[in-house]
């Protein structure tokens, strides 16, 4: 309950920041009229009164937030469609990309982390640790560019962008073919924390008494690792999925732009070029909400999985 209130407070904070940014936007909401048309001053004043812009800022915020809660997120300057509809249209592409990348990263990360912990200080462990560091240091967009350069321009194995081949019926293979590039890039961004945390989590667990007991009882080595150690090492990783969400959205933005993947991130970058403020704010708030919800969910799951944790 306490966590829920905290989440709501953070959510309100996010909307306040978005609202403040909206007000900082150069030109202000009436720039369209004052700068492009020779409108009389009293007409500008009338419009500003009709739109409620002559009210004090807190009142404006309250009205804006109330509309937000009702699902009225304003209209896009560019296509005059409701912002929320525009965003939800782009959501499946982003979700598909993020889920696939997250699965890939978790799979590889956990496997590498377990091996690293079991063979601590081996060459493999050393290479994996160094590789994790390097993967965090390579600019995502450049890695994407290099992927396109090597695998699409040079070898011709994968398409250089888009979600499907034009003019061909939908097929799972075609979709996977288009996913390969972006998922590798976004997966690489995410994999390092998973392998690092799995490794240290396994190391924490591996030397505890119940593992020794299991070994002494004659449980097979692989069963000890998977059933006894991994299960407990993975619990703290639940929160990692929540913490990683902002990184996931940021990475998706860059990956979608490089691979021209039709998702929310590329929509954001496109809208930036048009100075489409309602859409930009909408996406900012939308991702903020998803991040807060994700963290909340991760915390709750954590308490469910680990009975030692209780929220007051």
């Amino acid at each position: 309950m306490h966590r829920l209130l905290e989440g709501v407070a953070v959510l309100v904070g996010v909307t306040v920041i978005a609202f403040a940014l909206l007000h900082l936007a150069p030109g202000g909401p009436l720039a369209m009229y004052t700068l492009t048309t020779s409108m009389r001053a009293e007409d500008v004043a009338r419009i500003s009164h009709e739109l409620g812009l002559d009210q004090p800022v807190p009142v404006q915020y309250a009205r804006w937030a109330a509309n937000l809660a009702r699902g009225d997120w304003g209209q896009s300057y560019r296509d005059s469609r409701p912002v929320l509809v525009d965003i939800i249209d782009r959501l499946p592409g982003t979700v598909e990309l993020m889920l696939a990348s997250l699965l890939l990263a978790i799979g590889i990360g956990i496997a590498v982390g377990i091996l690293g912990a079991l063979k601590r200080y081996s060459i493999f462990d050393y290479l994996a640790t160094t590789g994790a560091m390097v993967s965090l240091s390579i600019p995502t967009f450049w890695f994407g560019l290099m992927m396109i350069f090597i695998f699409s321009v040079f070898l011709g194995w994968i398409p250089s962008g888009d979600m499907y081949s034009l003019g061909r019926p939908f097929s799972v293979f075609d979709r996977l073919h288009h996913l390969a590039g972006p998922v590798t890039v976004l997966g690489l961004v995410l994999v390092a924390p998973w392998s690092r945390y799995t490794r240290s989590g396994m190391l924490d667990v591996l030397y505890q008494d119940y593992i020794r007991t299991a070994r002494a009882k004659g449980v097979a080595a692989s069963a000890v690792v998977v059933r006894h150690a991994l299960r407990n090492a993975l619990i703290p990783l639940l929160t990692l999925a929540g913490v990683q969400l902002p990184m996931l959205f940021g990475g998706a933005l860059v990956t979608e732009t490089v691979f021209s993947w039709p998702g929310m991130g590329r929509f954001f970058v496109d809208s930036l070029g048009y100075r489409d403020y309602p859409v930009l704010m909408g996406i900012l708030i939308f991702t903020g909400v998803l991040v807060i919800l994700g963290n909340l969910l991760a915390d709750l799951l954590y308490a469910v999985v680990d009975p030692r944790i209780r929220f007051g």
């Binding site: 953070v10 321009v153 902002p246 940021g250």
Partner: protein, 299 residues
Amino acid sequence: MSESIGAAIRADGAPGRIRGRRVSPPLARFMRHRLAILGTAMVSLLLLSSFFAPDIAPRNPLYIDLMSRFAPPLHGPFVLGTDPLGRDLLSRLIYAGRISLTVGFAAMLLSAVVGTAVGTVAAYRGGAIDSIFMRFTDVAFSLPSIFLLLLLAAFIPPSVVSITLIIGLTSWMATARLVRGQILTVLKLDYVEAARAGGASDLRLILRHLLPNSTAPMVVAATLNVADAILAESYVSYLGYGIQPPLASWGNMLNNAQSYFVSAPWLAIFPGLMIALAVTSINFIGDGLRDALDPRLKI
């Protein structure tokens, strides 16, 4: 870089206090971290080449030579080739290093100052101020920083100063949390109580007792912040909202590289390699500093 190592030594409590011990343990531990040494060497090289750019760059980075557009690497006088305007790529990379590294280090300083101030005040004052500051940090944490960065960069006319300000002011949260935690730990120690009993003022307590004993995590976080700031600059500039041409930064040199994949792949390869090299080196240094200063630190 020398400041960080200097700080590393200081954190141990004044080197040379014990006569005869020439190298303090943290420095020795840092020296044993081979990748960190490699990183230090690389970063020193990059800093030197940026500093002496006018002396070592083979050509004027802005000189447009339309007769030698798209020269491939090792073609005539162009070691790394030329860009679509015939400008020498190597010279541009060297000069771009100036911009990218300046933005990286300056943004780090800004975020370190803001983060330390917020973290210290929150921990020291406690109560309502603490919760307000920390909730604000939570809010800033739940917005993906690239979105915020791009949005602000699109509002404000881009320049080296504005980009530095934007990156610095959107990256202090981790430092603030870290410093707050560290100060809270130090506040419980006996000597703080002793200093209070001795009549030390708040400011003196913070500056003389609390902060000097919290440097280890701050130094590590600051180092990693340089790496992140360089990456952030490259993202924003790559997307066209950062450093504007004709000024070159490693990020904006990649801005149009995608269009020349087939005809001039070197335009896409080298600037990215420079970013990866610089950021990897700095991260290795951060890793080495963490091991040297406080192996238990988790950042």
